[in-house]
Every structure is written in structure tokens, then in C-alpha cells.
Amino acid sequence: MQFSFSREQEDLRSSLRDFLSRRSGSEARNRVLKSGYALDRGLWDSMAQQLGLLGLALPESVGGSEAGFLETSIVLEELGRDAYAGPYFSTVAASWVLQHAGEDGATTLEQLASGSRIFTLAIADEGGTWARPGHRTTAFEVADGHRLAGLKVNVTDADTADEFVVVADLPDGPAWFRVAADAPGVSVVMGESLDLTRPIGQLVLQDAPAILVVGPAAAGEILADVNDKAAVALSAEMVGGADAALRQAVAWSLERTQFGRPIGSFQAIKHMSADALVEVETARVLTQYAAWAIDERTPDRSVVASMAKQAASDAFSLAAGNNIQIHGGIGFTWEHSAHLYFRKAKATSALFGTAPQHRDRIADLLAV
């Protein structure tokens, strides 16, 4: 029985936390609040090349270090804690599909691992979800490959990505394709993102040239796998964010004095914080187990992925909401980063299935 991380995994966590506090941290958060989202390309390159974060779980042959999903979840938790503004989740999620491309995919994965090209997933059609994308984006074969036509919604980091990994229907079923952002017939329409650190847009495909990555025979299984992994990856991000919001609230409660004592000595504030702590730890243990289950491909991995996602969504919403309340007026201002986490809580909950949707899925999978 060992429900804890190894020394190497703890080292990964602490070195990354240290790196982020130096290179990102409150300065980067303030930059987002002041001037909006802008990818820090130098930081991205360091994450890819210096720390090897993008190739963490990829084969050595493409420049990766062959670690597991558990290690990836540690990285995501720390990025969530930092409220990191960059396409890490999007790119790593794309790699879960690209890994199935066979030998042709090697160059793509090398570019992904080195950070030289940024990727994202484009799954849901209008009215569709990540689990059931719909059938309105179609693919047809031409002499030099394929062409895609359709509209993909809620695409994360759509304006940062160099390449999209897209689900589209061939005559014999859905398949995965790769589409370059600068190809003809490809355009992106950005929305106003609730999450200031994760831009959201629509991908418009008008007979856009595409490369087949995975055909209909395996595409469905990979989509299910992507949904499980994304749920756990986002849970890890949310556990980090929730913990950051909780710690920010506690730190403020020790500093802020009213009625002649720190507000953190009032039971009203302590009990709010203790409740948030319990929710964060609930989400944490479920996420850690789910990440392990994905690495081990245990039969319960889909159920526990949903358990983690619904718990992490609840924990983050509670902790981030408490954080604003405990800060009082200052917590409600644009300049304070409390709303950065509050926004992330709600937005990340909505990606790859809301908490109620995941509870429905748990009930279905357990045949309640």
C-alpha cells in the first residue's frame, strides 16, 4: 500500500513550483489582468526545452522522457496553482491523439515536445459536447489527402495553436485529423473568454486540407480515452487552483485586522476555510487515484475520472468563491487576482463536462 508520490515525483513538483514562482507567478497574473492574455513565448520554450514538460509522457524517440500520466497531472496541478496563461493543457491533450498516428506522427510529436509548434483539440460541433461531438463536421478524401468542412466550438487556445487536432466524420464514421492553422480554408473566431488565462474560440473549416491521424476503426476509443484523460488533467489543474485560492484567502485572513484582531481568528472565517480544505483534499485524493488508474488502465478509470472532475469542480468553485468573500471589497476589484481563480473555477468546470454531467456519467457507468 503506497498512496503517496515518489521522491522523483515530489522533486518534479518542487522544482516546477520554484521555476514558476521565478518565471511566472504574481507578475504574470498581474500582466494578464493589466494587458490581457499574451503567450510568454520565452517561458513556453523554457518549459519545453529546459524542463521537458511537453514531452514528459512522450517516447524518448521524439524527445520525450517517457514519464506517466501521474507526472503530467503533477505538472498540471502546479500550473493550475500558478494560474498559468498558456496552452499547456491544449497541447498535451492533442498529444494523446497524435501518439496514435504511427510513424508518420513522429515529426509532429517532435515539434510538440520541443515546443516549436502549439497544438489544440477541436472536438465539439455546435450543439455537441466533447464526449459526443456531433456529426456536422465532415471529411472527404481528395487526391493529396483529405478536406474538412464544418464548425468546431469551444476550442481552447484556438488563436495560439499552430495546428488543430480535429474530429470529423468520414463516410464510415468519425476520425481524427490534423489541420494547420495557416492552411487555406481555416479561420478562427475568438470569443470573450470567461477564463482570462485560456482563450476560447471557434474553428471554421471550409474545405480545409487535413491529414488523417486516426481512422474510424480506432477513433471512437481514442475519443473516450481523451475524455477520461482530459477530465483528470483538468481536475489536477483545478486542485492546484483551488489550493492556491484557499491559501490566498488564509494568508489574507492573517494579515487583515478588524475589531482589533486578525479576521482569520474568527470562527466564521476558519470554518469557511476548513470546509474548503476538506473539499480540496477530497478532490486531491480522487484526482491522484484517477491519474494512477489512467497509467495502469484499470477498469474503473472512467468512473474515477468523473468522480475527480465533479469533486474538483466543486472544490475550486467553493475555494475561489470563499477567497473573494474573505478578501471583502478588494477581492471584488479587477486588479486583485481573486477573480482570475473564480473565473477559472467556473470555466474549467465547464470544459469536458460539468459536475452534474459527470455525476450523470458516474451513475450510468455504475449502472445505478
Partner: protein, 411 residues
């Protein structure tokens, strides 16, 4: 990360499972199918058979009747017992084995360990816990029951309350004030005291479910020998709180197994009534499933720490808060599924007054309603949810204590 039992433990569990199957008929559907009146005797009987084969207190050292196995084995045993529909010991085991026994292992003298521990395991001695008083609930350190040492005997006067299983107990470990002049946390001592004596009177208290599982215990010149002092005189606060924190690693994992079985029965109830198609009910069950699984993982995390020799510290407070608050939500859900059937108590009442009922219990309304009523006790006993939240905020989050209004003296 490998949240599974080691191969040795798995082999042990398999062997234990084979042994258990011999104890019950082939069509055994669980101890919850027994009438309430027969349950205690059955639990006692099974416990006796487990003891004979050395399955009680396996993690205790061999010299005191244990097997010196790791806490992992203890969890494996508890898991298998519930899986096979059998009781996890008798009601007083919580006080005898988990609380007093564990404390004695840490603080007792060699002579005390040899005298008390084997008899706790054999079931010859049943124990209860004398902490709360009418005027000392959450503020336990203000206890005012006194003990005075006279010619090698402690003379005890005062009153304890909310004492579960006192009416069945042979012994009580009782927190008493031995130095009225010291600051309140410093004048307390923990004593082991025999129950069968004229100076002790036990009066049962009827609880909100109508049953009487806890008691008032009156001490009027009750006597216990000096050698029954646990730890040092005036060090009782440290011993008593260590006892509360001495919750063995993995206790949450053990509880989670029973909660999972209870949730199976709740699903059965929903199916019987055709309510399992309702989205609201399905979502709440899914939430409960997640909660129970998280409880199990928290137990595994604590177990991991115990196995590596670390204490679980303030996380014990989190586990207590977690399961007791969960159980309130679960029992509310059972009431919503029953709908208008909550109006009358029909069928079998639960055999276990606090927490989930025995495995295999029927889905009768009397069972769920009684458990619903009794669930209100769990968020109060062994430290209220509010006290647990204070502990978490102070010990884990580092938030300051509230200024104390009272003087530092005991009375």
C-alpha cells in the same frame, strides 16, 4: 503510487476469506438480516471465533496477544468482514481496542499492558470512555470530576455523560481532575476504573431514535488503585488528546467499506421504488459514491503514513468531519427516496446505532428512519463538526485561535 494491498496482504486476505466462509451458511445474506435482538449475540459469537484464530488485534505486538502485523492487515480484515456480511467486532471494541488499547501501547507501563491488553482482545474486559461531562462538552479540558489519592487508592467523585456502552462495560477510562490548583489543562489525569462497584451508578439515556445506547455515569466515592493511572499524574490532557488523535491509520478506509455497503442498500431502495431513473436521485447517489471512494482513499493515504512510521496528526479531524457530515447527507437522501413512507416506521430497526447498519440489512423504512435520526449524533460525538473545523483551521491552515474569554483555572 500503488494504492493496492501488497501480495502478502492479499494472500492473507484470501486465507481469511476462506476461514470466514466456514463460519456462516452457504446462503448467508449478511448480519443485517438478523433481527435486532439477535445481532449483538451474533457479533459476540463471531468475534469469539475470530479471536480463537488470532484475527483480533493483529497489528498489536505479539507479547500482548496480537500478531505484530502492519496496519495494512487490519484494513484487509475489516474489508473482508464487511464483504462477507459479518460484523467488524462489537460496539465496545471502538473504546477497548482502538482507543484505550492504542493509548496503553503508547503510554502504559509494562505491567498495565500485560494486565489489560490480552483481556481486551479476548473480550473478557469491555471498556467505555469517560470524557464528557454535563458542563464539559467541546471544552473537555474543563472537566470537573475529581480524584483524590488516599493510601494508594484514587477516590473519584463526579459525573460523566454521553457514555456509549457504559451499561455493558467492565471498565471505564476516565478523565479526572487531580490537581484543582493547576491550570485547567495541567490538572487532569487519566485513570482506568472498574465499573462493578457501589460507587458507580449507570443511568441509560434515551436518544432521539427512542433507543438507549448511551448513559450517564455517576461516581460517588468510586475507587480505583493507584497503579491504574495511565501515563503520569497531571499529564491526563496529553494522554487523553493523544487517545483521540491515536485513531489508527486506515480507520477511514475501514469505515468507507461499510459506507459503500450501505450505499449499495440505498441503491437497492431506489430501485425497489423505481426512483433510480430520476436524474436528481442518480446525481446524488453518484455524489455519495464519489464521497465514499474519496473516504477510502483518505484512509489509504493515512495508512501509507502509518506504515512509514509517520503519525496522521490533524488529518484524523478531517476524516471524522468528512464521514459524519457525509452520513447526514446520505441519510437525507434515503428520506427523499422513501418519500411519504417516512411517515411510519415499518419493519426492522438497525442493529448498529451510529453509522451504517450491518451488511445485508433490509430496506425497511424503520431502518433508514432510525439511521437518519441517529446520524445527528455523529456530527456531535468525539468532537463536534465545529470543533473539528477549528482544529483543521488551526493545525493545518495555521489560522489563529480565538481569544479565550475564561480564566486559565479549572473551575
Amino acid at each position: 503510487m500503488n494504492p493496492t494491498f501488497s501480495a502478502d496482504v492479499q494472500a492473507f486476505q484470501k486465507e481469511f476469506a476462506t476461514f470466514l466462509r466456514e463460519l456462516v451458511p452457504a446462503d448467508w445474506a449478511g448480519a443485517g438480516t438478523l433481527p435486532r435482538e439477535e445481532y449483538d449475540a451474533f457479533a459476540e459469537k463471531i468475534r469469539g471465533q475470530l479471536y480463537e484464530r488470532g484475527y483480533i488485534g493483529v497489528s498489536w505486538p505479539q507479547e500482548y496477544g496480537g500478531r505484530g502485523l502492519s496496519a495494512e492487515y487490519q484494513v484487509a480484515i475489516a474489508e473482508e468482514l464487511t464483504r462477507q456480511g459479518l460484523p467488524q467486532g462489537i460496539a465496545s471494541d471502538v473504546f477497548g481496542i482502538q482507543m484505550f488499547g492504542s493509548t496503553l501501547l503508547a503510554f502504559g507501563t509494562e505491567e498495565q499492558k500485560q494486565r489489560f491488553l490480552p483481556r481486551i482482545l479476548s473480550g473478557e474486559d469491555k471498556w467505555c470512555q469517560g470524557y464528557s461531562e454535563p458542563q464539559s462538552g467541546s471544552d473537555l479540558a474543563s472537566a470537573s470530576t475529581t480524584a483524590v489519592l488516599e493510601d494508594g487508592m484514587w477516590r473519584i467523585n463526579g459525573q460523566k455523560i454521553w457514555t456509549s456502552t457504559a451499561h455493558l462495560a467492565d471498565w471505564i477510562f476516565v478523565l479526572v481532575r487531580t490537581d484543582p490548583d493547576a491550570a485547567k489543562h495541567r490538572g487532569l489525569t487519566l485513570l482506568a476504573c472498574p465499573m462493578d462497584q457501589p460507587g458507580i451508578e449507570v443511568r441509560q439515556i434515551q436518544q432521539i431514535s427512542g433507543e438507549a445506547d448511551f448513559n450517564e455515569v455517576f461516581f460517588t466515592d468510586a475507587m480505583t488503585p493507584e497503579e491504574n493511572t495511565i501515563g503520569s499524574v497531571s499529564d491526563g490532557w496529553r494522554v487523553a488528546t493523544a487517545l483521540l488523535e491515536h485513531e489508527r491509520g486506515g480507520a477511514a478506509a475501514v469505515l468507507a467499506i461499510r459506507f459503500a455497503e450501505e450505499l449499495d442498500r440505498l441503491e437497492e431502495l431506489a430501485r425497489e421504488r423505481g426512483r433510480h431513473h430520476e436524474q436528481d436521485i442518480r446525481r446524488r447517489i453518484a455524489w455519495c459514491r464519489s464521497r465514499v471512494f474519496a473516504m477510502r482513499l483518505m484512509g489509504y493515504r493515512a495508512l501509507t503514513r502509518t506504515l512509514s512510521g509517520e503519525g496522521i496528526g490533524p488529518e484524523g479531524a478531517m476524516n471524522k468531519l468528512f464521514w459524519s457530515e457525509y452520513h447526514r447527507v446520505l441519510t437525507e437522501l434515503s428520506m427523499d427516496i422513501l418519500g411519504e413512507d417516512v411517515l411510519t416506521l415499518r419493519g426492522r430497526r438497525p442493529a448498529i446505532p451510529d453509522g451504517p447498519d450491518a451488511p445485508g440489512a433490509p430496506t425497511d423504512s424503520a431502518g433508514w428512519i432510525t439511521t437518519f435520526l441517529n446520524a445527528r449524533s455523529s456530527t456531535i460525538f468525539a468532537g463536534t463538526s465545529q470543533v473539528q473545523r477549528n482544529l483543521l483551521a488551526e493545525k493545518i491552515l495555521g489560522m489563529p485561535r480565538e481569544p479565550r474569554a475564561e480564566s486559565s483555572r479549572g473551575r
